[in-house]
């Protein structure tokens, strides 16, 4: 027997789960299947690298609202994977043999940690962090070892390092490039985050390429760098970026280049939407497409697709990207996208752990990084949305000067 649905959503991370929440809030009455390859109810992923590992409490934070969990028209299907399907026929086959029919398909398959294909990579005690099950592996390993090597100096490992520092642990971060978070933040920010992690006792080594893992044949004992240095490790966390999960989309005959290719309406084909970390979507403010890995991107695209599925005519998808990362006591927030070659203006002092970095391309503001300035982050999102670029003098004077300039422009535009 074939199960027919109006909408089938593949993937129950932030994108898929939020889409269900919004459809329920919109009183959508069609039948919806939410397919997850995990056994758990959908949960918030950002805490997994932070408070989840610090607390005794093992509850994860649910993503679905009460209504989404209880609505009779929503079928949550945990522990299922899609084996293949036929877009023309509107059918999917799960690996357990179940056949599903759909009128509209939503691919929210996410991204997975990039693997390090080097000698010893199959040893126990080498993990990546994406799911609750991964976080559990890390939590268990923490009972057995105090020697942690974190391969890759990106957001996940810096968050982990700051969360796990102390308690007699030796934590070493090995980053291949000359600075942390090279593709994501300004040099000033890289340096600040490095200093702050070091204050917590984390050792950060740059320009270090990992060449192999050593062990006793079963479990990891050392991480070895190309320079020949050996670091004792009872646990190694590999976080060197993510790759989009687009294998299924390719099997379905959809175009994929750095993710599932979609048009400005987030459609990969008629009646097929894709959203979240797995999507390569057109950037309306530029002439190219991009892929973003963030909660904001998942959520905003889910909001857009919910509108589309419930029949509201819309303009092309457009949203201001924003990110956050909590590293120890510091809250980093980024509004917009810091492209290479920007001119940077700094407000405040990194030494005070309270500052902002404004990125300009020409006179145009394109991104703002803030440390422990959530209000200024919100203001930055507003400025980017309204296409307002404060002058360097206004930035240096501070938030009140910027707000005044923005208000003055708004009043002129009325």
């Amino acid at each position: 027997m074939k199960n027919e649905f109006d909408v089938v959503i593949i993937g129950a991370g932030h994108a898929g789960a939020h889409l269900v929440n919004v459809l329920v809030r919109k009183k959508y009455t069609g039948s919806v299947a939410l397919i997850s390859d995990e056994m758990f109810q959908p949960y918030h992923r950002p805490p997994l690298s932070k408070e989840y590992l610090k607390t005794e409490q093992v509850d994860s934070r649910p993503l679905l609202t009460g209504g989404a969990l209880s609505s009779p028209n929503i079928s949550f299907m945990p522990g299922c994977r899609v084996a293949g399907g036929d877009l023309q026929a509107g059918s999917l086959t799960l690996t357990n043999g179940t056949e599903l029919g759909f009128k509209q398909l939503v691919l929210a398959t996410g991204a997975s940690p990039r693997k390090l294909a080097i000698e010893g990579a199959g040893l126990e005690g080498i993990v990546s962090l994406k799911t609750l099950a991964d976080a559990e592996k890390i939590r268990e390993a923490l009972f057995q070892t105090k020697e942690l090597v974190l391969v890759g100096g990106g957001f996940i490992n810096l968050e982990l390092a700051c969360s796990l520092a102390g308690e007699g642990r030796t934590i070493t971060v090995l980053e291949q490039t000359p600075r942390l978070l090279q593709r994501a933040v300004s040099p000033v920010m890289s340096e600040f985050l490095k200093t702050e992690a070091e204050k917590l006792g984390v050792r950060i080594l740059l320009n270090e390429e990992v060449s192999r893992f050593e062990g006793d044949g079963k479990r990891i004992s050392h991480v070895v760098t190309a320079a020949g240095e050996r670091f004792e490790a009872g646990l190694a966390v590999v976080a060197i970026g993510s790759v989009p999960e687009s294998g299924l989309a390719e099997d379905l005959g959809l175009e994929c280049t750095n993710g599932i290719v979609v048009n400005g309406q987030l459609q990969a084909a008629p009646n097929v939407y894709a959203l979240g970390d797995c999507v390569f979507f057109p950037d309306p403010s530029a002439s190219h497409s991009l892929r973003l890995e963030s909660v904001q991107n998942a959520t905003d695209q889910a909001n857009y697709v919910a509108e589309a599925l419930t029949g509201s005519a819309q303009e092309e998808y457009h949203a201001i990207p924003w990110f956050w990362s909590v590293q120890g006591a510091n809250r980093l927030q980024i509004a917009g996208l810091a492209k290479p070659g920007t001119r940077q203006v700094i407000s405040g002092e990194p030494a005070d752990a309270n500052f902002a970095v404004y990125h300009y391309l020409g006179e145009q503001l394109c991104a703002v990084e803030t440390i422990n300035r959530p209000g200024e982050h919100m203001l930055a999102r507003k400025m980017l949305k309204e296409n307002f670029s404060p002058t360097e003098a206004e930035v240096v004077q501070g938030v009140e000067a910027i707000k005044a300039a923005l208000a003055s422009r708004e009043s002129k535009n009325v």
Partner: protein
């Protein structure tokens, strides 16, 4: 368990029992309170759980924390003197019967 009331702009009231220790954004999500989304899961990054405490119920929620205070200045629905981010309000006996206005 305490009782929490959410009040919509049309005056309609939505009541739920909330376990002590649970934050009121999560409680709102569990009870499908309109316009509260808690996109960041309570990390104080999104400001999508803004509420106004209706002090006419006799219960006050206290002053916002420093970072919350900065966020509240910028919320889209507009700050009021008793605005809070509900992810920062944790159910406790003192808040039993609290009334939270949601705006959209």
């Amino acid at each position: 368990m305490i009782t929490v009331y959410w009040v919509y702009p049309d005056g309609s009231e939505h009541k739920a029992s909330v376990e002590e220790g649970v934050n009121l954004m999560e409680a709102a999500m569990a009870n499908d309170i309109e316009s509260i989304y808690g996109e960041c899961g309570g990390s104080m990054a999104c400001a999508t759980c803004h509420v106004e405490v209706d002090e006419s119920c006799g219960i006050k929620a206290g002053e916002p924390f420093a970072m919350e205070n900065e966020m509240l200045d910028m919320v889209e629905s507009g700050r009021t003197p008793t605005s809070r981010l509900s992810c920062q309000l944790v159910a406790s006996p003192e808040l039993d019967g609290i009334r939270l206005k949601v705006a959209w």
